[in-house]
């Protein structure tokens, strides 16, 4: 299980290859990329702030939860912070499992939970100035659908 928060870019191919092993027949990866448009405006750049310490702990808690729900051979989560330009990679989730279903589901679960629990905040620089990104209700709904009780 790997969890990293870093300023520098990551190489998806390298991260995927890290989880390659003979008992993992399925590796699923998700790469989030900074969109070049927001609220109908051109995005100049985005700055990601986080809560050092809690971010890593929260990502580890989320990864552990995924491992308790699905049989996984490996999990990697890499999230960038600092200043990012449109088109740059921002987040990576890789899951490895014996079969594809667990790998797909766990990757989606990790992204849904990361978006509603990991303490990151985005500030956008657009033509009209700086704006903090507002949390979306649709993200809460996406995370809530994994709850079964």
């Amino acid at each position: 299980m790997t969890v990293r928060v870093q300023h520098e870019d990551f190489e998806p191919g390298v991260e995927i290859a890290r989880l390659q092993r003979e008992d993992a027949g399925a590796i699923v990866s998700f790469v989030g990329v900074v969109r070049g448009e927001s609220h109908g405006e051109k995005l100049v750049s985005m700055t990601l702030e986080h809560f050092p310490g809690m971010t890593e702990r929260e990502l580890e808690r989320i990864a552990k939860e995924a491992r308790s729900c699905w049989s996984l051979q490996g999990v990697s989560v890499v999230h960038r912070v600092g200043n990012l330009k449109p088109g740059e990679r921002i987040v990576l989730v890789v899951t490895a499992a014996a079969h594809r279903r667990a790998a797909f589901e766990a990757a989606e679960f990790l992204m849904d939970y990361l978006k509603t629990r990991a303490p990151f905040w985005k500030r956008e620089l657009r033509a009209s100035g700086e704006h903090w990104v507002e949390a979306r209700g649709s993200d809460d709904a996406a995370a809530a659908r994994w709850k079964r009780d």
Binding site: E49, F51, L114, P119, F120, W121
Partner: protein
């Protein structure tokens, strides 16, 4: 106790962290938020709409009813927007 602020709360309050001597009357995260808001200025602005504020106690998400004690670390921040 250590209190941390992130994102627009940090901007409004003008600092990212501070040491606070916890008054006896403050027993929960919510009471701490109300006590800080009563300082006025940027604090009042930051906590004007507590529905927009989330909290962590010792680096774990909690709701405003969570009890606090001296030595705790409490963080206030907007709903998260990573990913």
């Amino acid at each position: 106790m250590k209190v941390l602020y992130f994102a627009w709360l940090r901007q409004k309050i003008g600092r990212g962290e501070e040491a606070v001597d916890l008054p006896v009357a403050v027993r929960t995260v919510g009471e701490l938020a109300a006590w800080l808001a009563a300082r006025g200025g940027g604090y009042a602005e930051a906590f004007a709409d507590v529905k927009r504020v989330r909290a962590a106690l010792n680096q774990e998400h909690v709701d405003f009813a969570a009890p606090v004690k001296g030595g705790d670390e409490v963080a206030f921040f907007p709903p998260v927007t990573g990913g």
